[in-house]
C-alpha cells in the first residue's frame, strides 16, 4: 500500500527501546486531555510520550521531532455527533498496520440520556477497521483511571514491553467464526 506523506505509519521512525508513545485523536471536548493525564499518572518503567490531536493528518510543522507512534487511541463521545465524524475522517489517514492491534476506539457516553449517535454505527465503524472498542466515561475519576490503565496496557503490548508479546500475537487468539 503506497502511502502518501499524509498517512501516519508506524515504521517511519526507528523505535527506541526505552520509549513508548501514544497518540490520542478525538474531537474537541471529548476528554483527550484528561484521559492523557490519567495515563501519565500511572507509574511505568519506561518513558511514555503522549501526543493529542483534534484530527488527522498531523501538522507538518514539527514532524521530524515527533517520535514513532506505537499506539493510536481514537476517542469519541456518543453525545457528540461531530466526534464520530472526526474519527471517521482520521481513520482514513492511518496506515493499515495500525489496525492490527495498534489502535483502539474509546467510546464515552454509551449509557447517557443524550445519545446522538447510534451504537450500531459505532460498532460498524469499529468492525470495518478492526478496532477494539473500549467503553467508559472520562468524567468519573474511577472509570477514567480504568480506561487509562487499559489504554496503557495496550500501548505496552504495542511497544513490545510485555515480554515481547506483539499485538499480532494477541490478535491471533481471536476467533473469526463464519456463520
Amino acid at each position: 500500500m503506497a502511502s502518501d506523506d499524509r498517512t501516519l505509519t508506524p515504521y517511519n521512525v526507528l523505535p527506541n527501546r526505552q520509549e513508548a508513545s501514544l497518540l490520542v485523536v478525538g474531537a474537541e471536548g471529548v476528554g483527550k486531555h484528561d484521559l492523557s493525564l490519567a495515563v501519565l499518572k500511572i507509574p511505568v518503567q519506561f518513558s511514555l510520550q503522549i501526543r493529542t490531536a483534534s484530527s488527522l493528518p498531523l501538522p507538518t510543522e514539527n514532524a521530524d521531532l515527533r517520535p514513532r507512534i506505537d499506539f493510536i487511541c481514537f476517542i469519541m463521545s456518543m453525545t457528540d455527533r461531530e466526534s464520530i465524524q472526526v474519527v471517521e475522517k482520521s481513520l482514513s489517514l492511518v496506515d493499515v498496520k495500525y489496525f492490527l492491534g495498534r489502535a483502539c476506539l474509546v467510546v464515552t457516553g454509551v449509557h447517557s440520556h443524550k445519545k446522538m449517535t447510534d451504537l450500531d454505527q459505532v460498532t460498524a465503524l469499529a468492525d470495518s477497521f478492526n478496532l477494539p472498542l473500549v467503553f467508559g466515561e472520562v468524567k468519573s475519576e474511577k472509570e477514567r483511571d480504568q480506561l487509562a490503565r487499559r489504554i496503557l496496557t495496550m500501548t505496552e503490548v504495542a511497544a513490545g514491553f510485555k515480554n515481547h508479546v506483539s499485538p499480532l500475537l494477541v490478535e491471533s487468539t481471536r476467533l473469526v467464526t463464519t456463520s
Binding site: 460498532t123 515480554n163 476467533l175
Partner: protein, 819 residues
C-alpha cells in the same frame, strides 16, 4: 415548635384542598393569589410528606375538571404524590374525566402517566379492570397510545383477550399507526394468552415495548411511599406486633408492612398478589379457561411449603411474576411447573427491567441494580440453568461493558450462561471478554479465567446432560412414534432454548481450546504471575476431573504450550497441582471405555516431558519421546549455546528454580553447619528429600512420581531399607527425647521466672518489716533460685547431648541411604 409548625401546615393544606374542592366553574389564574398560594401549599406538602388518599381524590377531580388553566392542572397532577396508597376511586375518576373529554388531550395524557406512575400503589384493581373496555377506546388517540397500551399491558387478563380487540390492534399496526413497540407489546401479551387468536408473526426484538417515562416522578413517589411505610412499620412493630394477621389483612399488605424499607426500592421486585384473589371472578374464569381444573388456588394463599405441595397442580401464579425473584416458594413452583405463559411473562418483565436499568440508564441506581443482579445469580443457581433473556442481556451489555461496573455479578452470570453453538458463544460473549481480557490488569485476567472455567464446569455438569437427555428423548420419540409428544419443559424451565443443533462435546472442546489460548498468552504477558498461574491450573484441574466427576466422555488435554508454561514456571505449588491433575488424567484414561488413541499419545508425550524435566534431568534432550521431540534437533544447540551448565537438569525437583529453595533448606537442616551445600548432594537421598517435600505441602509431586516413575534400584534399595528404617526409628526416638527435654527446660525456666517475680513482689510487701527478717528471707529465696538454675543448666546439657545424638543418627541414616 416543630409540632406547631406541623399543625399549621396541616391546616393550610386542608384549606388549600378545600379551596380546590369548592371551585366549580372557570377560575382566573392571573392575579389570583389564593389559587397560587393553595397550589404552592399542595406542592410543598406533596414534596414533603405526600398526600392522603381522600386529598388525592379531591385534587384529582379539581385538576381533571378543566376549571383551571392547563398549567395549574398540570402542576396539580404532578403533585399527586401519595403518602401511602392511592385510592382506586381516584383512578376511576381520572378515567371518567378523560371520557368526558373535558380536560385537554395533554392533561389526559398526563393523567394516564400519573396512573402508570402510581400503578403499584393503587389499593385495588378490580374496578379499574372493569374499565378495560373503556380504556381500549382511547387507543384511537395518537398522543395517548403508548400510555394506554402500557396501562392495558399491566391490566390484561386472560378473559380480556377478545377477537375484536385483536382485530383492532392488528388494524392499527397495519394501518396508520404502524408497528409501534407499544402496540406490539400489548399484542404479545394477547398472543401469550391465546396464540390461536393472534396469527400475526411478531418480530423478535430486543427493544423495550414501553419507553420509560417520568423516571423522576416515579422516584419521588417511591421514596414517599417508602418513607411512610417505614414510619408505619415502626409504629406497627412497636404497638400491634402480630395483630396484622388477625385483622385479616391480605398477604400483600402484610408483606408491605413487614418488608423493611430497604427491600422495596424503585427497582421494585414486586410482591405477589393474585388477580383472582382480588376479583373473585371465578365464574367468568371458568368460562374462558381452557384447562380442566379450574379451581385455582391463588398463590397469595399459599404460605408454607407443605401447602405448596398439596396444591401444586392448581396454583394460580401471581400477577406479578417477577415476585419469584424474591420468593423461594414461588421459585420452587416455577421450577416445577415450567409453564410457558409464566416463563414468557417472567422473560418480558426481566427484559424490560434489564434493558431499562442497565442499557438505557446506567449508573443511576447502582445499589438496587446490584441487588437485582444478585437475585438473578441466586435464581439461576437455584434453577441450575441460565435464563435465556439474561443471556441475551449479558451479551448486549458485555458489548459496551467497561469491565468494572457490577463486575462480579456480570461474571457470575456469564458463567451461568446456557449452551449455544460455539460460533454464537464466541461472537456474543467470548470476543468482548477477550478484548477486555487483553487490555485489563492481571486481576481481571484471573477473574476472567475463573469465570470461563466456571462456565466450562457449568456446561459439563448441567448443560451437557440436559441436552443429552433431550436429544435422547427426541430420538426415542422418533423411533417409537409414541402418542405422547416429548415435552421440552420436562428438561428445561425455558424450553424454547433447547436447541438440537448444539453439539455439546464440540462446544466444550472449542471452549476449552479458547480458554487455553487465553491462558497461555495471558501468562506470557503477565510474566507468569503466580495468581494467574493458579487460575490457569484451576482450569487444567477441571479438564482433568470432568471425565470422572461429570461424565464427559471426551478427555481434553491442556495444550503443550500451557503445560510448559506451568512446568517451567517458578511456582512449586502450581507444578504440584499440575502433577495431581496428570494423575487424574491417568485414572480417567484407565477407566475410560472408549479408546482415545490420539489423546493417549499426546498425553504420553506430555508425561515424558514432565518426567524428563522433573525427575530424570533430561529436559530438552530426549530425541525420541516427548512433545518437544520434533523440535529437539533444533532446540538442543540453542539450549546448549545459552551457556548454562547442565541445562537439562534446570527444571528438576532438585535443581529447578521452583524447587531450589526447598533443596537448600533441606540440605541446610541435614548437613553439618559450615559445610558447603549443593543440590547434587540430594542425589543419594531422594526418598528423604521427597518426604521433606511432602511435608512442605507438595504432595502432588510425590504422587506423580509414585504413579508414573518406575524407580530403578528398587531391589538395591530394599537391602538398605531395613537399616534405614531402623535408623529412622532411632532418629524419631531421639527427636522425642529432645522434645521432652526441651519441655522440661521450658518448665524449669518458667519456675525460675515465677520465683523471681515473687521475690520482687515480696520486696514490695515487706518494705515496712524488719531489715534482718527481710534479708534472711531474701537469702533463702536466692538460695533456692540458685538451685533451680543449676537444674536448668543440667537439663540444657541433656538436651544438647540428645540433639547431638540425633544429628549423628541422621547422618548415619543419610549414609545408609547413600548405600
Amino acid at each position: 415548635m416543630s409540632s406547631g409548625k406541623g399543625v399549621r401546615k396541616k391546616q393550610t393544606l386542608e384549606a388549600a384542598v378545600r379551596y380546590f374542592e369548592k371551585c366549580t366553574g372557570k377560575v382566573k389564574v392571573r392575579g389570583n393569589l389564593e389559587l397560587q398560594l393553595s397550589l404552592e401549599t399542595v406542592k410543598a406538602t406533596s414534596e414533603e410528606s405526600g398526600l392522603e388518599p381522600d386529598q388525592i381524590t379531591t385534587l384529582l377531580d379539581a385538576a381533571a375538571s378543566g376549571y383551571f388553566a392547563q398549567t395549574v392542572g398540570r402542576q396539580l397532577i404532578r403533585s399527586l404524590v401519595p403518602s401511602s396508597r392511592v385510592p382506586q376511586e381516584a383512578v376511576i375518576n381520572a378515567i371518567s374525566w378523560m371520557s368526558s373529554n373535558k380536560p385537554s388531550i395533554s392533561i389526559q395524557c398526563l393523567l394516564l402517566r400519573w396512573i402508570l406512575v402510581v400503578y403499584d400503589y393503587i389499593d385495588g384493581y378490580d374496578k379499574l379492570h372493569s374499565l378495560y373496555g373503556i380504556l381500549f377506546l382511547f387507543l384511537d388517540s395518537q398522543a395517548m397510545l403508548p400510555h394506554v397500551c402500557h396501562l392495558m399491558f399491566l391490566l390484561t387478563r386472560k378473559e380480556d383477550v377478545k377477537m375484536f380487540r385483536v382485530r383492532k390492534l392488528l388494524s392499527l399496526i397495519q394501518g396508520r399507526v404502524g408497528p409501534q413497540p407499544c402496540l406490539l407489546g400489548l399484542l404479545t401479551i394477547y398472543k401469550l394468552y391465546y396464540p390461536n387468536l393472534v396469527a400475526f408473526a411478531l418480530p423478535p426484538s430486543n427493544k423495550m415495548f414501553f419507553g420509560s417515562y417520568d423516571r423522576k416522578w416515579r422516584c419521588q413517589v417511591r421514596e414517599m411511599v417508602e418513607k411512610s411505610e417505614a414510619r408505619q412499620a415502626l409504629s406497627a412493630s412497636s404497638s400491634l406486633g402480630g395483630n396484622a394477621a388477625e385483622l385479616g389483612l391480605s398477604k400483600s399488605r402484610q408483606l408491605a408492612i413487614q418488608a423493611p424499607a430497604k427491600k422495596r426500592r424503585r427497582l421494585e421486585i414486586p410482591i405477589s398478589h393474585s388477580a383472582s384473589a382480588e376479583t373473585q371472578l371465578s365464574e367468568s374464569m371458568e368460562q374462558v379457561s381452557l384447562s380442566v381444573n379450574t379451581k385455582k388456588v391463588p398463590f397469595v394463599r399459599v404460605d408454607t411449603f407443605m401447602n405448596l405441595i398439596d396444591n401444586v397442580e392448581k396454583i394460580e401464579f401471581p400477577s406479578q411474576i417477577a415476585a419469584c425473584l424474591r420468593d423461594p416458594i414461588l421459585q420452587h413452583l416455577m421450577a416445577y411447573a415450567a409453564d410457558r405463559v409464566v416463563t414468557a411473562r417472567f422473560t418480558f418483565w426481566l427484559q424490560h427491567t434489564l434493558t431499562d436499568e442497565f442499557l438505557n440508564h446506567s449508573s443511576v441506581n447502582v445499589e438496587e441494580n446490584e441487588r437485582l443482579l444478585r437475585m438473578l445469580v441466586d435464581f439461576t443457581d437455584f434453577l441450575q440453568e441460565g435464563v435465556p433473556v439474561v443471556d441475551s442481556f449479558i451479551s448486549s451489555y458485555l458489548h459496551t461493558w467497561n469491565g468494572m461496573d457490577y463486575g462480579p455479578f456480570i461474571l457470575r452470570l456469564i458463567s451461568k450462561c446456557q449452551m449455544y453453538p460455539f460460533s454464537d458463544l464466541n461472537d456474543l460473549i467470548l470476543e468482548p471478554l477477550r478484548q477486555l481480557y487483553f487490555s485489563s490488569s492481571v486481576y481481571f485476567k484471573c477473574q476472567c479465567l475463573l469465570t470461563l472455567t466456571e462456565l466450562l464446569r457449568n456446561y459439563a455438569a448441567y448443560e451437557c446432560p440436559r441436552l443429552k437427555e433431550w436429544s435422547a428423548a427426541v430420538t426415542a420419540e422418533n423411533n417409537t412414534t409414541t402418542i405422547l409428544p416429548t415435552d421440552p419443559s420436562l428438561h428445561s424451565v425455558f424450553p424454547e432454548r433447547l436447541n438440537e443443533t448444539v453439539q455439546p462435546a464440540l462446544v466444550l472442546q472449542k471452549l476449552a481450546a479458547f480458554v487455553d489460548r487465553l491462558a497461555v498468552l495471558g501468562l506470557r504477558i503477565e510474566g507468569d504471575n503466580t495468581l494467574l498461574l493458579h487460575s490457569v491450573v484451576n482450569f487444567v484441574e477441571l479438564l482433568s476431573q470432568w471425565n470422572q466427576q461429570h461424565g464427559v466422555e471426551k478427555i481434553i488435554l491442556p495444550s503443550e504450550h500451557l503445560l510448559r508454561r506451568i512446568l517451567f514456571s517458578d511456582c512449586s505449588s502450581a507444578i504440584s497441582r499440575l502433577c495431581v491433575a496428570f494423575c487424574r488424567y491417568k485414572e480417567s484414561f484407565v477407566q475410560s471405555s472408549s479408546r482415545q488413541r490420539e489423546s493417549v499419545s499426546a498425553f504420553n508425550d506430555m508425561l515424558v516431558d514432565m518426567c524428563d524435566a522433573l525427575w530424570r534431568n533430561k529436559a530438552f534432550i530426549n530425541p525420541t519421546q516427548g512433545s518437544l521431540k520434533a523440535l529437539s534437533g533444533e532446540l538442543n544447540p540453542i539450549v546448549t549455546s545459552m551457556g548454562i551448565p547442565y541445562p537439562s537438569s534446570r527444571f528438576s525437583i532438585f535443581q529447578g528454580q521452583a524447587f531450589l529453595p526447598y533443596a537448600w533448606s533441606f540440605l541446610l537442616q541435614t548437613q553439618p553447619e559450615g559445610k558447603r551445600v549443593h543440590p547434587n548432594q540430594l542425589k543419594g537421598v531422594k526418598d528423604v528429600y521427597l518426604e521433606f517435600l511432602e511435608q512442605q505441602n507438595l504432595a502432588g509431586v510425590i504422587r506423580f512420581i509414585n504413579t508414573f516413575i518406575m524407580r530403578k534400584s528398587v531391589s538395591g534399595r530394599n537391602k538398605h531399607k531395613s537399616t534405614a528404617d531402623h535408623l529412622r526409628r532411632q532418629l524419631q526416638r531421639a527427636r522425642t527425647t529432645a522434645a521432652r527435654v526441651r519441655n522440661q527446660l521450658q518448665q524449669a525456666r518458667a519456675t525460675v521466672a515465677r520465683v523471681r517475680s515473687s521475690i520482687i513482689y515480696r520486696r514490695h510487701k515487706q518494705q515496712e518489716q524488719d531489715l534482718q527478717q527481710r534479708e534472711a528471707a531474701v537469702n533463702a529465696h536466692v538460695n533456692s533460685q540458685c538451685e533451680q538454675e543449676k537444674d536448668v543448666e543440667e537439663l540444657r546439657l541433656q538436651l544438647n547431648s540428645a540433639q547431638v545424638k540425633a544429628r549423628v543418627l541422621y547422618r548415619r541414616l543419610i549414609h545408609v541411604s547413600h548405600l
